[in-house]
Structure formats: C-alpha cells, structure tokens
Amino acid sequence: MVFVRIEYRKFGPLVFISHLDLIRCWERIVRRADIGVSFTEGFHPRPRFSFSPPLPVGFEGERELLDIKLEKPCLDIKNRINRVVPQGIYVNNIFFIQQSDLGESVIGGLYSFQWLGDTDRVELEKGLEDLGLKDWLYNSEQLTQTSIFHFKNSLTIPLLFEKGYPSPKKIVELVDGIGEVVWLKLSRVQLLER
C-alpha cells in the first residue's frame, strides 16, 4: 500500500468553494493527472482520499493536506498534478507516507483575519475573551489615504478542532458585529500537528 501526502495551497477564487466542492475538484484533478489512484467500489467509484479538516468558505488555506491512496507508486506526482489544476489550487510538496493518519495528527489551525474598519479594540478583545480565547496577535495600522475607514486590521489566532474552541466563522461574526468592515483576506496559515 502506498500513500502520498499532498501539501497544497487553496487560494484566489477557490477560497469560495465548499469542502464538498473541494473533494469533487480533487477527484477530477487526480483523474486528469492519471497518477494511478485507488478507487472505491460501487456505481460511483471515488478516489480513496483523506482530507485535513474542512476550511470554512472564504478562507484561504496556505498549507492544506490531502492523503491519497495509490494503486502503485508513481513518479513526478507534483508536476503531473500542477499541470492539471484549476487556478486556485497549487501543490507545494508531496511526501510518500506509510500510513494515512490525518484525522488524528492534525489538531488545529493558525487563522489569520484581515479587514478594513474602525474596529474598537477594547470591544474586540472583550469579544475574544468571551469566546474563551486567550492567545492572539492583533495589529491595527493607520491608513494614510482614507476614504471610509481609517484602519487596516489583522488578527492571528490559533484555534484547536475541539470542544470549547469557536469556529473561525464565529470570529468573523464577532468583528462584523462590532462595526462596519470590509474583509480583505481570511486564511488558515498552517495546520497545527500533534
């Protein structure tokens, strides 16, 4: 049995596709790349995949992981895939692994939020504390040429995939609730592994 672990970026237009869409998208990528993946049985054969936990819609993933089971080892997988990806997916690295254990080893992610808006710092920090969060990095930068908003904000928070931790969407809601903002970028910078 051979597994290949794919470390890829999900960015640009594809930040807006759902996890289910992403699965379909990868299914077609590996069929086009013809890298000898192993398929499930049945009337709708699917490649045998294992994905890192879903990204919320709107979030870029800078280092996402996907394990694929192969029928047999295949050379040049990275290039074969990158030749047939749509704009918005790009493979950074691949590794051959013995066992697929994404479900257990990935325990969280480091998330970054960037927006324009005159967000009240005290209210934001109180909101984050109310969500049970303690560690974060918040930065607010004064803009020189301003139209409606005077500040560009960025917030980075590690969030674990376990009970007690809010979803990244909750943080977006929190910021949206404090005042009018324009979102610039949302991303999962990296996955946190055990």
Binding site: G42, F43, H44
Partner: protein, 570 residues
C-alpha cells in the same frame, strides 16, 4: 475572481460567481468580436445546459471572436450589486457587458423571462430594444425563440433552431458590418438576411435552422469543469437529436425534428476526449428517447466494456426499461437509483389521445421487471388537464396506481403530477388549458381516490398557468413581464421564489385577460408564432389535433412510415 472579496464573502453561494473553471481560456480581446453569453437563470442551471456550452465552444474556437459568460445573480447577489453600484461582470475577464459587441441570451424556459430583464438591467442596458441605440447587439437563441412574441420588445434579433451554424454567420455578418458601418439598423438588416434569424420590425417570417449531420457538428471536447456542483455535474455526450414518437403534447418532439443520430464511433471518440480533458467520473448520454437510438446495443457494449472498467459512472436518461437487459441496468447502478417512467395519462383512451404509445400491459410488464429485479423505487409521471380529459381519466390514474400498489406491495411508488400546458408548434397548440379551479378540483379528486401509501407530489397549478400564458403569449404579454419584474418577480421557475400574486396583479394592471391566452383556439385564429416556420406544416398539426380528439393514435414514423409532417422535405 472578478468581484471584490468582501462582496462575494457576503453572499450565500459565492462559488457561482468566481469562474476560474478548469479548461477556461482567457483570450486577448484585441480586434476580436466580443460576445457575452448570458443565461437567464443561475450558474448551476446555465452551466448544465448543453446548447449554452456548444455555442460558447464554437465562438471561442474562432480566432477572431471570444465568448465570456454571465448568469442571473441570485437575489442576495443582485441586492448587493445594486447597493454597491457594481455592474454584472463576465466570469472570464470581469468586464462589464457594455464593453462587448454582442450580448447573446440562451433561453430555454419561459419561466426564465424575468431573468432576461435582471441581466439587461444589471448590465446597465435599457430593457427595450427600441431604447438601445448602441452596441452591444442583444440576440437570443434556445427553444423559446420559436415562440418569441412576449420577449420581442427586449431582444434585437432571434435565432430559431439549431445554433451551430447560425452563430458563425452572425459573427461573420457582424465583422462585415463593423468594417463598413456604425449604423445599428444596417446591422439588423444584414442579419435579417440570414436564414433562421428573425429581426422584429424587419423580418416578416423565419425558417428554423437545423444541422443535417451531427457527426460533422462542432462539439465541446474540452468543456469547462465547474468548481461548484451544478445541476447536471457530469460529462455529456448528445447521442441523438429529435424524436419521432409523436407524443402530441411534447414541444421538443416537434421542434427538434428530424431525428439525427451521432454515430457510435463519434460517441466513443467524444466520450474519451471529454473524460480525459475534464477528469469527470461520470458521463451522461443525452437524447429525447435513448431507447430509439439505432445502435443501442453497441452503446451498451461500449459502456460495459470500456467505461465501467475505467471507474466511470454512466447515466442514460429517457431509456425504457424493456429495451436493455437487466445486467446492464445492474452494471450502471440504475437499480439502486430507481426507475422513472411516464405513462402521462391514466386511461388507454386518453393515452391514445395524446399519442403516448404505452399500454396498460406495457406498464405492468415494466412493473413486473422492476419488482422481479429488486428495484426499490419507481417514479411515475402523469399529467392532468389533457384535452378531452374526463373525471374518469383522473380516477383512472388513481385506479392504475392503486392496482400497481396492490400487486407490488414492496415497491416504493413516487408519483409526480403536473398540469398539462399546451405548447406552440404541437398539435395541442390550439387546445384549452384548464383553470386553477379545475386543476384544484382534479387534484382533490385524485387525492380522494388514491391509496394513501403512494407518495403523491404535484406541480403548483399557478406555475403551470403562468407557463401557459408566457408560452402562448403575444407581444402584449411583454408589458406584464416588465411590470412583474419591477414588482420583484425573479427566478419564477424556483418554487420558493415564485409568487402568483405578483403576476396576477401585473396581468390585471396591463389588461391582460388570462382566459384569452388559455382558451381553445380554432384554425382561423391567428397564433402569435405563426411567422415561425419549424418545417412542420400547420395542416399536419391541425390534422393531428383532430385525430387526437377522436382518439386515433399514430405509430412512430421511423417504423410505421411517413405521415407527411413536412420536416423531411424541409
């Protein structure tokens, strides 16, 4: 991605507005004829439309032209675009339609008419052709252009029939015109000389275009692969165009005549190229009646021997159960999905009237196979409100279903009832459409007679009534379309969006008498689509109508001989 991140982040289905599909080509617009292809429904519906995909492919195959796409934005997106004063942008280059030479609509369903207005308006174009002095030229193709009266005021020029050849002639004509003139009227005059083109105000009549040989017709072998799930999310190969069964209610059956088949060799070639270029894991073989494909046996062999072993799932809509073997159904997994079957009417008399050549014996034979082979569910389609229908025909549906239920207790019966809508260019184009009260009465009658364990669902009679008015409407109806659109009519084909109140009010305000459009017509009544020649003679259709009223049926003309509908000598 052409819209700002923040804008897309705030809509429900942002993936419908990102484009960036695999196989997308972005062309340098320099010197090219620029066509914006518009579909007046959502991305998910439009991207599933084969005609739309074919035209996109043909235009982009030309070195001197390019096509980019726009779809009707969902309500939340429309609202946000208006609030932020952003026009609708093409998915390819993110340009506004104002920068294009031609805006081409693909219109295949009457309930999309409000979407035409949404798109025109969000592109910053006046709704009425008479108020658009500049480019883009607004053209339309698709099934609805064969009875275009209610949308004539919105569109500069209509293409009737198959679009494969005529789209090239339109672009050539446009290029010639651009070299010599800036006068839009001269362009319209030049276009009106193309066969299959109808220019309101200039053309008197129009003859439907059709391609003679499907094997020679261009076909998209590198179709766009959507990044988000669409309605028909699979590779598609059209195996046959047209149908000769002659069901008298079926518009497609008459519009797409004559029957043209694609050869098995070509089907294989297209299938493997498309699967290779897209990575789809599923393929659908499209036609109006797959069982009538001459080399069905060869197609079945190809599916079993080549597609299934390469982990490709297969669907063949409109395949009758008695035409292929059990093994085949099992092989493609159809048994699990459940069978669909359309007797359309509950009594033999009425099935003869509509020329649906299915007998009660056929129905039970099908059910025998279904239950013997262990299928779990069957979906059955019926219509109510067909010409000459009596209470006993409605009760006949219940009787038929109850006896199926009685005989095959394990089978899960799902029944879908729709209201008959008389369609232009069919023998029933003169027929009466029943009123809402009658429809409700018939549904009540049916429900009272039917076994409660049968799952019954029906189309909203109000939607069918609107469809009936729009499909047989004349140019006066266009005013009501504008009024309804202004009152908020959007996505009328979507049950959660449809509002009959809005339409009824709009008809009333514009003095549109609903009864005028739904009542029975005589041979002497002028029909709003009389100027469209589909190749089938009006005498033939009238004769079919009369035969139908006396319950006289006709066999498939490919088997029983010619009835002189006219299309083969067209």
């Amino acid at each position: 991605m052409n819209y700002p991140f923040d804008l897309l982040y705030r809509v429900r289905k942002p993936a419908s507005y990102i484009g960036s599909e695999y196989n997308l080509i972005r062309k340098n617009p320099e010197g090219k004829v620029k066509v914006a292809l518009a579909f007046p429904d959502t991305y998910e519906v439009g991207m599933s439309n084969l005609g739309f995909s074919i035209i996109y492919h043909i235009i982009n195959s030309r070195e001197d032209a390019l096509a980019e796409r726009i779809f009707a934005p969902w309500i939340d997106m429309e609202e946000l675009l208006r609030r932020r004063k952003v026009p609708l942008l093409t998915l390819e280059s993110g340009k506004s339609v104002n920068e294009f030479d031609i805006l081409a609509f693909s219109i295949s369903y009457e309930l999309n008419y409000s979407g035409i207005l949404t798109i025109l308006d969000l592109c910053g174009l006046p709704l009425l052709s008479s108020e658009r002095k500049e480019l883009p030229l607004v053209i339309a193709g698709g099934e609805c252009t064969s009875h275009p009266a209610p949308i004539i005021p919105f569109i500069d020029c209509f293409a009737v029939g198959d679009g494969e050849e005529v789209i090239n002639e339109i672009i050539d004509t446009f290029k010639d015109w651009r070299l010599n003139s800036r006068d839009k009227y001269e362009l319209l005059v030049a276009l009106s000389k193309i066969e299959g083109i109808y220019v309101p105000g200039i053309s008197k009549t129009v003859r439907k275009r059709f391609i003679r040989n499907l094997d020679k017709a261009p076909y998209p072998t590198k179709p766009l692969v959507p990044n988000t799930e669409i309605i028909h999310d699979r590779a598609v190969v059209e195996i046959m165009r047209g149908c000769t069964r002659g069901c008298r209610f079926c518009e497609a059956g008459f519009l797409y005549r004559p029957v043209r088949e694609r050869s098995l060799e070509m089907i294989k070639k297209l299938s493997s190229e498309i699967l290779m270029s897209t990575g789809y894991g599923e393929i659908g073989f499209l036609s109006l009646s797959a069982s009538d494909y001459s080399n069905l046996e060869g197609l079945v062999r190809y599916i079993k021997e080549e597609l299934i072993p390469s982990h490709i799932a297969v669907s063949i809509p409109s395949l009758r159960i008695d035409t292929v073997s059990r093994e085949f159904y099992e092989a493609i997994g159809e048994i699990k999905r459940g069978l669909t079957f359309a007797p359309e009417a509950g009594t033999q008399r009425l099935r003869d009237v509509i020329n649906k050549n299915i007998t009660e014996e056929d129905i039970f034979k099908t059910m025998d196979i279904v239950s013997r082979e262990g299928w779990e569910a069957v979906k059955l389609y019926f219509m109510i409100g067909l010409p000459t229908e009596q209470d006993e025909d409605v009760i006949g549906i219940a009787k038929l279903l109850n006896s199926i239920r009685e005989k095959y207790r394990k089978l899960n019966l799902n029944v879908s009832i729709s209201l008959f809508v008389p369609k232009p260019h069919t023998p029933f184009q003169w027929a009466r459409q029943i009123t809402l009260e009658e429809a409700r009465e018939k549904i009540r009658l049916l429900k009272s007679k039917i076994n409660r364990r049968i799952n019954l669902s029906w189309h909203d009679p109000q939607v069918s009534l609107l469809e009936g008015i729009l499909t047989r409407g004349d140019i006066d109806v266009s005013k009501a379309i504008i009024t309804a659109w202004r009152k908020g009519a959007r996505f009328d084909a979507w049950t959660d969006r449809f509002s009959w109140d809005v339409w009824e009010e709009s008809f009333r305000e514009n003095n549109i008498d609903i009864d005028f459009y739904t009542r029975e017509k005589t041979l002497l009544d002028p029909l709003p689509w009389d100027f469209v020649n589909t190749g089938i003679s009006k005498e033939f259709l009238w004769n079919e109508y009369q035969l139908s009223l006396s319950g006289f049926k006709r066999e498939d003309c490919r088997k029983a001989g010619c009835y002189n509908c006219g299309v083969c000598s067209y």
